[in-house]
C-alpha cells in the first residue's frame, strides 16, 4: 500500500519485508540461547520498523502462523497417491524426512509456538490447528470423495501427527526405517496392502 515511513534503513519492497521478517523469525527460533521472540526483536533483526510488522500481521501469533504455514507448504508438499493409506504414508514420509533436519524440527516447534494461547477459546484453537495441518484435511476430503472412510481428525492427531511432532519437539529421532508405515498401520489397522 503506501510506502514505508522514511527511515535511515534502506527501503524494502513489501515482498522484501516479508522475506526478511520470515527469515528473522527462523533465525531467532534457531538461537540456541533462546532469544527473545518478540515483535521488536524480530523487527530489529529483519531491519524493518516494528510498526510495519504490526500493520501487516497484527500480532506475533499471526506472523508465526504465516511463517509456519508458508514453510510447511514448501517443505512438506501434498502428494495424491490415489489412496488414503498411500497419501497418509506419503505425508508421514515427508514428515520423517523433515524432522531429521534441524530446520524441520525448528519448523514444528514454531507450529507449536504459533498456536493461540490458553486465553483463546477451544473452538478457535481447534480451527487454528486445522489451518496448520491443512494437508491432513485435504487427504481426508479426497478419501471421502473416493468413498473411503477416513479416520477422524482426532485419531490422526493422536496416532500420526502427535508422534511425529513430539519427536521433533523433543529431538527424539524416529526409527531408522519403516516408521511411516508403522504409524499408518496403527492408525488404519488391518493389513498394509491396498
Amino acid at each position: 500500500m503506501s510506502p514505508e515511513q522514511p527511515s535511515p534503513r534502506i527501503r524494502k519492497s513489501p515482498e522484501q519485508v516479508r522475506s526478511a521478517v520470515h527469515q528473522a523469525v527462523i533465525d531467532l527460533l534457531s538461537d540456541p540461547e533462546g532469544a527473545d521472540l518478540t515483535i521488536p526483536a524480530i523487527a530489529q533483526r529483519a531491519g524493518v520498523n516494528h510498526t510495519s510488522i504490526y500493520r501487516r500481521w497484527g500480532s506475533r501469533e499471526a506472523l508465526l502462523a504465516d511463517v509456519v504455514t508458508t514453510r510447511l507448504e514448501r517443505d512438506w508438499p501434498l502428494k495424491d497417491t490415489g489412496s488414503l493409506r498411500g497419501d497418509l504414508i506419503a505425508w508421514a514420509e515427508a514428515g520423517v524426512a523433515s524432522i531429521r533436519t534441524p530446520e524441520g524440527r525448528l519448523l514444528i516447534r514454531a507450529v507449536a509456538l504459533s498456536m493461540p494461547g490458553s486465553h483463546t477459546a477451544q473452538g478457535e484453537r481447534a480451527q487454528q490447528f486445522q489451518r496448520r495441518i491443512a494437508a491432513i484435511e485435504s487427504i481426508r476430503e479426497r478419501a471421502a470423495g473416493r468413498g473411503e472412510s477416513p479416520p477422524s481428525l482426532e485419531q490422526i492427531l493422536d496416532q500420526l501427527i502427535a508422534p511425529l511432532y513430539l519427536r521433533a519437539i523433543f529431538g527424539i529421532d524416529p526409527p531408522a526405517s519403516g516408521y511411516p508405515e508403522l504409524l499408518v498401520n496403527r492408525l488404519l489397522g488391518g493389513a498394509p496392502g491396498a
Copy 2:
C-alpha cells in the same frame, strides 16, 4: 555454602533462592507475550544475582529440567495399581487432569523447552527424555518385575505420551471422557479387562 555476595537485595537462603528462581521460570513461561527466558531475565524476576543461577544450575536447560522434574513429581504422582494397564491408565488420567489446567499445559511446554537442543547427541537427548518421564520407566520396571511384558519406551512415547503432550502443547482439549482408557487400549491392544 558460603554466603551470597553483599548486594542491595535482601539476602535469601538457598531454599528461598531455589523457590524464587523456580517461580520466576514459571512466571516467564506464562507470559502471553512470550517473554525472554534467559538466565539474566530469570534472575531479575527472581530478585537474585544471575551468578547464583549459573553457579547452582550451570545452564538454562539444567535449570528448566530441575523446574519441570520437580513440578512433574508433585503434579503427576506415580500410583501403583498392581497391573501394567492400571498403572498406565492412572498415569494418563493424571496427565489428562493436568493438561486441562493452564499450569499443566505450561509445564508440558516447559518439558519440551528443557530438552537439550539439536547440538546434543541423540543418545544424550534420549537419556534426558527418560529423566523427564521417569514415572513411565518405573511403570515399565514394575511390570517387568511382575512378569508382564511392557511395551517399549518408543511405543509408549508414540501412543501414550505423544498424544497427551501434543494436545497440551497445541492447546487441543482431550475428549471429555474415556480418553485415558482409549489411549491405553490402543497401546496394549486387546480387551480392556484385567
